[in-house]
Symmetry: C2
Subunit: 366 residues, 2 copies
């Protein structure tokens, strides 16, 4: 996407192939700060501590991490150990495992001496495939917005949760891709941005992205979405996802389930933008089978932001010693999902449709 007139992605492979530059998303929206990651350990830390986040992005970044290992030491043992380390960096999004598995399979089939160059190229291919998938999600989601615009005057009002924008992917975003295409096509939009506690990815990342693109948006508390839907102020919900099961249960940022319930109760369509890399046919029951990351309670008791002096600092909002629980994701049952917007088109959130989608995608790959 374009930031300050320049094309930008959240990751930039060094031309020398010896490092990956990433936007340190912890500093946004206050500073656009790049970090150079030159070792698998640095990549592991950047994923774990959420310098980079978003299911598709952490997949691509992890692939570069494994590629950096191949440059340092391309043995089978190093390949397996590094892939295992990176896979553990975060537990919920399946894209991390998906990207590492894809790269690992290519590398296992090649001689160690060839692995460094091959891995770098394949990490690049994983990144470009993500860009293409998201652009296709945009094209397939666009008609949903156009249909609403055709029904009545005024902007199409879309609610989104967390950040499933270009910062969460290699480019375009998943949930935002249809929005960016619609905006470019001149369709009037109004985006409700859930602030997305406790890490405020909506307030700090999605609001920043949409402002850069000149896309009209309004920040709301996570608590407000149901109220807006009750009052007929939301035409459509589009969210991203971290893992979708074989039967269509959607694991996404904590709070997504509550918005899906409200959408269902208010008759508002609830769509999930899902690149195929986020589909995990190995699990069926999302609630029972997807591991939910539990993060530090400090994310709740303390909030980071910019003070009056322009410094980025943390303030404590809860009493000293307050215990806090911080599950980072929840699971929205398939029954609450109106449809999945994939790079292969709209798909129903049910077992048969997803199996057929996977089969079609496998044929297209051959």
């Amino acid at each position: 996407m374009i930031v300050g007139g320049e094309p930008m992605r959240p990751l930039r492979p060094a031309a020398e192939g010896d490092a990956l530059w990433v936007i340190d998303q912890r500093a946004l929206p206050h500073r656009l700060q790049w970090q150079r990651l030159a070792t698998p350990a640095a990549v592991d830390r950047a994923i774990r501590e959420m310098w980079v986040r978003g299911a598709p992005l952490i997949g691509a970044v992890a692939a570069y991490g494994l590629a950096l290992q191949m440059r340092l030491e391309p043995s089978d043992a190093a390949l397996e150990a590094t892939a295992a380390m990176l896979r553990r960096a975060r537990p919920t999004a399946v894209n991390l495992a998906w990207a590492l598995d894809r790269l690992r399979a290519r590398l296992q089939a090649s001689r160690p001496s060839h692995r460094a160059a091959l891995a770098w190229a394949e990490a690049g291919a994983i990144a470009e495939d993500d860009v293409a998938a998201n652009a296709a999600i945009g094209r397939h989601g666009l008609p949903l917005l156009q249909a609403i615009a055709a029904r009545r005057p005024g902007p199409v009002r879309v609610l989104t949760h967390c950040n499933a924008g270009w910062l969460a992917t290699v480019d375009w975003g998943t949930a935002t891709a249809p929005l960016y295409l619609a905006h470019a096509a001149g369709l009037p939009l109004q985006v409700w941005v859930d602030e997305t506690r406790p890490r405020n990815q909506g307030a700090s990342l999605t609001a920043w992205e949409l402002a850069q693109a000149g896309l009209p948006h309004t920040l709301i508390a996570d608590n407000a979405g149901g109220h807006l839907m009750q009052r007929g102020q939301v035409d459509l919900v589009i969210v991203g996802c971290d893992r979708v099961t074989a039967r269509g249960d959607v694991c996404n940022k904590i709070g997504t389930y509550l918005k899906a319930l409200a959408a269902h109760d208010c008759g508002v369509p609830f769509y999930v933008a899902m690149p195929l890399s986020t589909l995990d046919l190995g699990v069926r029951d999302g609630l029972a089978e997807i591991p939910i990351e539990e993060r530090s309670g400090r994310e709740l008791t303390h909030v980071g932001g910019r003070n009056a002096q322009g410094e980025v600092v943390e303030v404590q909002i809860a009493p000293d010693g307050t215990p806090a629980a911080n599950p980072a994701f929840d699971v929205t049952p398939a029954r609450l999902v109106s449809g999945l917007i994939t790079e292969h088109g709209l798909v129903a959130a049910d077992e048969a449709s997803l199996a057929s989608l996977a089969a079609r995608a496998a044929r297209a790959d051959r």
Copy 2:
């Protein structure tokens, strides 16, 4: 309730009858700071700017505001003008109008020269009636908790939203009254405290209250409640309310509706603690008829807290110029409410039950 070994209420009438002291709740949990309010204008400001908040508390404080006016100037004109001003301080909670109407009716029937003393005494009676109502709500809610404790070992896990604790009332709280009674009776409890964005009344007030009482609690993001209910980690939801309609629709802090939906979806009982002063038989359809206060977007874009130097400051979390919408309340339809816990006992959230409750209460008053 007891704070640091001392009995405490959020308001304290001056012995001289010339002022009302209130806890400035904006400073909690970082400082326990009292403010002296000596004029109706000061009371109006304290309600408007949420130095005091909580439906029952603002009713009692407004009554003292009108009483202070009677000391300054007890004419009919001053009575009407001050009552009208205070009534407009906040639009959603009906207790404000209820308390002013009760006091105004008494004063209208008396000679101006008698009004100052009468008003002060009646404001005190309104406050004491609130304490008694909340204690009764506690007694009527307690069996709900005891029944869960009797069914299985371990603590009874209650989720609450916002602050419907003693800080929101004159004493005991509404939603918390059963919890404090249960805790005193030795029933093991675990309270999930929604942080309650954007003003964080859960994180700053409810967590503080429960900690003072030694009542086990865990702070969570507003986004997390649905997830916990899905996983069977919530036995019961109890919230307060700002206005309940004749047919049982419940207006309460923004986000309550989302929790009610999740409770309904997960089979978790959803109770509302309602003193009769919060029932508004003059409205039926909560969604159509209750005015919802829209507060400043700054409550979303900026967060107050304590910095590393121990100073209470504000930090900005969203990009400069981010538009924000901030509805402060939402309406939970009666169909999602398991029951209302009132000072007269448990009542179903439906028109017939509420009419019968009101009739019973009117007979008891006679």
